[in-house]
C-alpha cells in the first residue's frame, strides 16, 4: 500500500481487528502515551497487531523493536520509520 503516514487512528483500527478492545478502555481517548499493558494488550495481542500492520503496509518489523515499542506513540513512530525507509529506496 502506498501511504506515507501511519497514524494512531490506523493503529487503533488494527488493534480492534486483531485483538478487540478491553471493556474498561476507550481506544479513541488520549492513549498515545499509555503502556499497551495498561490498555489490556499482552504480548500475543501485539504480535498479532504487528503481523497485521506488516501485511497491510508491506513492511517487515523487527521483532525486538516491536517488543520494545511499549506505547501507541512508540509503535506509530516505529511503523513510520519503516515506511520512510521503504519509500527512500
Amino acid at each position: 500500500m502506498a501511504v506515507d503516514k501511519f497514524t494512531i487512528e490506523d493503529l487503533t483500527r488494527i488493534l480492534r481487528e486483531a485483538a478487540g478492545a478491553d471493556e474498561g478502555v476507550d481506544l479513541d481517548g488520549d492513549i498515545a502515551e499509555t503502556d499497551f499493558e495498561e490498555l489490556g494488550y499482552e504480548s500475543l495481542a501485539l504480535l498479532e497487531t504487528g503481523g497485521r500492520i506488516e501485511r497491510e503496509y508491506g513492511i517487515s518489523l523487527d521483532e525486538d523493536a516491536l517488543a520494545a515499542a511499549r506505547t501507541p506513540t512508540a509503535l506509530v513512530d516505529l511503523v513510520n520509520a519503516h515506511l520512510a525507509a521503504a519509500q527512500a529506496v
Partner: protein, 403 residues
C-alpha cells in the same frame, strides 16, 4: 473421605441454552437434530447435526476474547458463567488458589484451526493468527475459563473422547479430595465445520440418513450410527463442607466413578464396560438395586449397542432398571455428552422424573427398560451415567440425591 457435591449447572445444548430451556425441552422430547447449517453439507455422506442455533458470542463475551477463541471456547466461557451463577458464586470473591478448572476435550478448536490453515494455504504464513498458538488446543477451554475468572487452583484437560466428560469430573473430585474447595468441571465440544466433519467421518460411526427422526436410533433395529452435536455442560463441584458453610443449594453427590480401557481389537479378552459400571457402583458403596436410572452411552452402532445392553443387563438383570438416552435429541456431543447427562441425572433427582429417549423404537434383541415416548415419574435417589470413547475408553459415574 471428603464428600464432593454438585452445586451449579451450566448447560449449552442444541435443545436449549441454559438449564431451564434445556430441561423443559428434554422432558418434552424435543429434538435439536436437523440438516447442518454451519456449512453446506451437500457433498458429505453425513448431513445432519445437533447445532446450537441462537448463540451470539459477540453479545455475551468481551470483544477482547473474540479474535482468540474457537466456537467451543466461546460456548464454554458462557456455560461457565452460568454454572457459577447457578451455584451462587462470584469467582472473583473466592481465594484464587481455591478454585480449579478441569475440562475434557474431544478435538480442540477445529473451526479456528481450519480458518488459520486456510489462511496459511491460500495466502501464506504471515496471514495466520498469532492466537492459533493456543486457540485450537485441547486445554484451551480450561485455560480461558481460568483466566477470565481469575482461577489459579488445579487445572487440566482430559482427552478420552466421549468418556472424557466423566473422567474430567472424576479428576475434579480427586482434586477436591486433595484439598481444593471447588472445581468447575465438565466439557463443551463443537466442531461442526468441514475439517471437523471430515475428522469425525473417519470414525465410520456417523449416520448417513437425512430424516432427523430416523438418523440416530440407539437400541433400535434400525440403528446405523449417530448424529454429531455441539455443546455440553460445565458443573460446579464442591467440597460438601464448603457448600454447607456457604449455604449452597446442592443438586447431588458425586458418589462413585470408575474408568476402564478395552483390550486391543483382536485380543480374546472381554470388553470392560461392565467392569467400569461394577467398579463405579463399588466406589459409591452402592448395590445395583439402589440405582434408579441409567443414562446410557447409546452409540447407535449395533455391536456397541449390544455390548452396552449386555453390560447393563448383566449388572441390573433383564429390564431391571430404567434406561434412557436424552442425547438422542441433541446428537452425540463427544466430551460434552456425559457432563450433560450427569446434569440431566441431577435434574431427574431434583424433579422426580426421567427424561425420554426420542425417536428410538426398542429392538426386541435388548432386554432393557428403555424410557421412550414420554417422561416417566420416578423417585430418583441414585443415577448411573455411562460414557464410552472411541479407542476403548469406558467411564461410569454414580450420583446420589443430596442428604
Amino acid at each position: 473421605m471428603t464428600e464432593v457435591v454438585v452445586t451449579g449447572l451450566g448447560i449449552a445444548a442444541p435443545t436449549g441454552l441454559g438449564l431451564d430451556a434445556y430441561w423443559a425441552n428434554t422432558l418434552a422430547g424435543v429434538s435439536g437434530l436437523g440438516r447442518v447449517t454451519r456449512f453446506d453439507p451437500s457433498n458429505y455422506p453425513a448431513r445432519l447435526a445437533g447445532e446450537i442455533r441462537d448463540f451470539a458470542a459477540e453479545e455475551v463475551l468481551p470483544s477482547r476474547l473474540l479474535p482468540q477463541t474457537d466456537r467451543m471456547t466461546r460456548i464454554a466461557l458462557v456455560a461457565a458463567d452460568w454454572a457459577f451463577a447457578d451455584a451462587g458464586v462470584v469467582p472473583a470473591d473466592l481465594p484464587e488458589y481455591d478454585v480449579g478448572v478441569i475440562t475434557a476435550s474431544h478435538s480442540g478448536g477445529f473451526e479456528f484451526g481450519q480458518n488459520e490453515l486456510r489462511a496459511l494455504w491460500s495466502k501464506g504464513g504471515q496471514y495466520v493468527s498469532a492466537y492459533q498458538s493456543f486457540a485450537w488446543f485441547y486445554a484451551v477451554n480450561s485455560g480461558q475459563i481460568s483466566i477470565r475468572n481469575g482461577l489459579r487452583g488445579p487445572s487440566s484437560v482430559v482427552v478420552t473422547d466421549q468418556a472424557g466428560g466423566l473422567d474430567a469430573l472424576a479428576q475434579a473430585r480427586r482434586q477436591i479430595r486433595k484439598g481444593t474447595s471447588m472445581v468447575l468441571a465438565g466439557a463443551v465440544d463443537a466442531s461442526i465445520c468441514p475439517w471437523g466433519w471430515v475428522a469425525q467421518l473417519t470414525s465410520g460411526r456417523l449416520s448417513e440418513r437425512d430424516d432427523p427422526a430416523r438418523a440416530y436410533l440407539p437400541f433400535d433395529d434400525r440403528a446405523a450410527g449417530h448424529v454429531p452435536g455441539e455443546g455440553g455442560a460445565l458443573l460446579v463441584l464442591e467440597n460438601a463442607e464448603h457448600a454447607r458453610a456457604r449455604g449452597a443449594r446442592v443438586y447431588g453427590v458425586v458418589a462413585g466413578h470408575a474408568s476402564t480401557v478395552d483390550p486391543a481389537p483382536g485380543r480374546d479378552r472381554a470388553p470392560t464396560l461392565q467392569k467400569a459400571i461394577d467398579h463405579a457402583l463399588a466406589d459409591a458403596g452402592a448395590v445395583p438395586d439402589e440405582i434408579d436410572v441409567v443414562f446410557a452411552d447409546a452409540a447407535a452402532v449395533p455391536e456397541l449397542d449390544r455390548a452396552e445392553a449386555e453390560a447393563i443387563t448383566k449388572v441390573f438383570g433383564p429390564r431391571g432398571v430404567p434406561v434412557t438416552a436424552p442425547k438422542t435429541g441433541t446428537g452425540r456431543l463427544y466430551s460434552g455428552a456425559a457432563p450433560l447427562d450427569l446434569a440431566a441425572a441431577l435434574l431427574a433427582i431434583r424433579d422426580g422424573v426421567l427424561p425420554p429417549t426420542v425417536h428410538t423404537t426398542l429392538s426386541e434383541r435388548y432386554e432393557l427398560d428403555l424410557v421412550t415416548g414420554a417422561p416417566r415419574r420416578a423417585d430418583v435417589r441414585s443415577a448411573l451415567v455411562v460414557a464410552r470413547g472411541q479407542g476403548g475408553f469406558n467411564s461410569a459415574m454414580v450420583v446420589r440425591a443430596p442428604r
